[in-house]
């Protein structure tokens, strides 16, 4: 077996880190490596955490991780921050709140920029989750800033999705993208020492009552003060309850199958894209087609069929 792969399976941080870099850079070696990983995955529990900026997600994750470590579970964390669409650079600062975990050999933290390459982030996160899973992490936490579709897609990878809110943002709940509120399996209201907490909980509760009135499972709302570690035990309790619910209702299996389906579609998209854009002859073909589209000789749909015909033939 390849040295890098056996390193990953051993849980060696340098091998894990290097393979993630290959994935992020969409290196040609990636698919060969990832093929060898898949059969070693499927054991980890995957938790997605999203919420508005400044809601204390990183601090919450740090506390959550501490609790899991007390239970003897190893933890992998993927902290995703936006890449600037202008410079292509990113400032990844989630680690600042997690540095006390830096020396724990059973915690692996990786910061990722969204990068914005074609189909890039989602498929990269699928791969990183597989890598951490194969490196025998019991718990994998994915942290995103809940602002857009990309984040919603990423959190779909998780078995349990937690949306973090804070009191006193006024009509924040209405302004949060509809999709983000709908993906919650658990709501967490952090910074619950704020006097406006009850009002915020009432707002979420009314939203939950509307969306869950015909469902057997009501989405729980947990109060936390991450900085003091308050409510973290309850949060873990709700995560476990949700996991049990998934198992009992056979939703777990269905959810994983959906995840693999989405992953497969992402890979097909990515490979098709690289087939189209990496091959010189096709590139020239596209250029001529573009000219024809511009001069109205043909339409984009016909052009697309021509390109796909060339690949599938």
């Amino acid at each position: 077996m390849n040295e890098l792969i056996s390193g990953v399976l051993r849980g060696d941080p340098r091998s894990v880190a290097r393979l993630i870099t290959y994935v992020e850079n969409q290196s040609e070696k990636t698919s060969e490596f990832m093929k060898q990983i898949h059969s070693h995955t499927g054991k980890a529990q995957i938790i997605g955490i999203t919420g508005v900026m400044g809601s204390g997600k990183s601090t919450l994750i740090c506390e959550l991780t501490r609790k899991y470590r007390e239970q003897g579970k190893s933890v992998g964390i993927i902290a995703i921050d936006p890449t600037s669409p202008f410079s292509g650079g990113a400032l990844l600062g989630d680690r600042v709140r997690m540095m006390e975990l830096a020396m724990d050999k059973d915690v692996f933290i990786r910061s990722m920029g969204t990068r914005g390459v074609l189909g890039g982030l989602t498929s990269a996160v699928y791969d990183v989750v597989e890598i951490l899973d194969a490196s025998k992490k019991d718990i994998i936490i994915i942290e995103t800033v809940g602002v857009g579709q990309a984040e919603v897609d990423v959190v779909k990878i998780a078995d349990t999705t937690i949306v973090v809110l804070v009191p006193g943002l006024g009509d924040s709940i209405q302004t949060i993208k509809a999709g983000v509120m709908e993906i919650a399996d658990i709501f967490v209201v952090n910074k619950a020492d704020n006097p406006k907490v009850e009002q915020t909980i009432a707002e979420i509760q009314s939203l939950v009552d509307i969306s869950c009135f015909d469902k057997e499972r009501k989405i729980p709302i947990v109060k936390t003060i991450a900085k003091q570690g308050d409510g973290i035990g309850e949060m873990i309790g709700e995560i476990e309850k949700h996991r049990k619910y998934l198992d009992e209702t056979k939703t777990f299996e269905m959810q994983r199958r959906l995840r693999y389906e989405a992953e497969l579609v992402e890979i097909i998209k990515k490979q098709l894209m690289s087939m189209i854009f990496d091959e010189e002859t096709l590139k020239k073909k596209i250029d001529t087609l573009l000219n024809k589209i511009y001069s109205k000789e043909i339409d984009p749909y016909t052009a697309s069929e021509e390109i796909l015909g060339k690949i599938l033939k």
Binding site: A17, R18, T21, S87, G89, A102, I109, S111
Partner: protein, 131 residues
């Protein structure tokens, strides 16, 4: 292949001044790099462990307390001990002229004092990054 330069900006030791580190972090981000910031009061062990997990190409150390001869060199030594040779290490802060040759000899490839233009740091990293 879409290779991005990843940089760890770290503040070792007992030094609460991170304005400079943050300005540099921003400049590197604006130059298209992915910058991971550790926050204050890091030990050399924490910095190297973070650099490993984040698989960075560059470590940028910032220190204004005067302990650079100990802490910068500790990081460089620890990298060597872990057999990590493909990470570029640079440093900045209040660093006396006469210390610079010693730091360079210890493996701090670039040392940037007050008044350094951010572009100079960006150029240095782009030119000297090892992989």
């Amino acid at each position: 292949m879409d290779k991005k330069i990843r940089v760890l900006v770290a503040k070792p030791g007992l030094d609460g001044h991170d304005r400079g580190a943050k300005v540099v972090a921003r400049a590197l981000r604006d130059a298209g790099m992915e910058v991971i910031y550790t926050g204050l009061h890091q030990t050399a062990d924490m910095i190297v462990e973070t650099a490993i997990q984040e698989d960075v190409d560059v470590i940028g150390l910032s220190l204004l307390s005067g302990a650079h001869m100990t802490l910068f060199i500790d990081v460089a030594k620890l990298l060597k001990k872990n057999d990590i040779n493909d990470v570029l290490v640079v440093g900045g802060g209040i660093i006396p002229e006469q210390d610079i040759p010693k730091l360079k000899k210890a493996g701090i490839a670039g040392v940037f004092g007050p008044g350094t233009h951010c572009d100079e740091i960006v150029d240095f990293i782009k030119k000297n990054v090892k992989r």
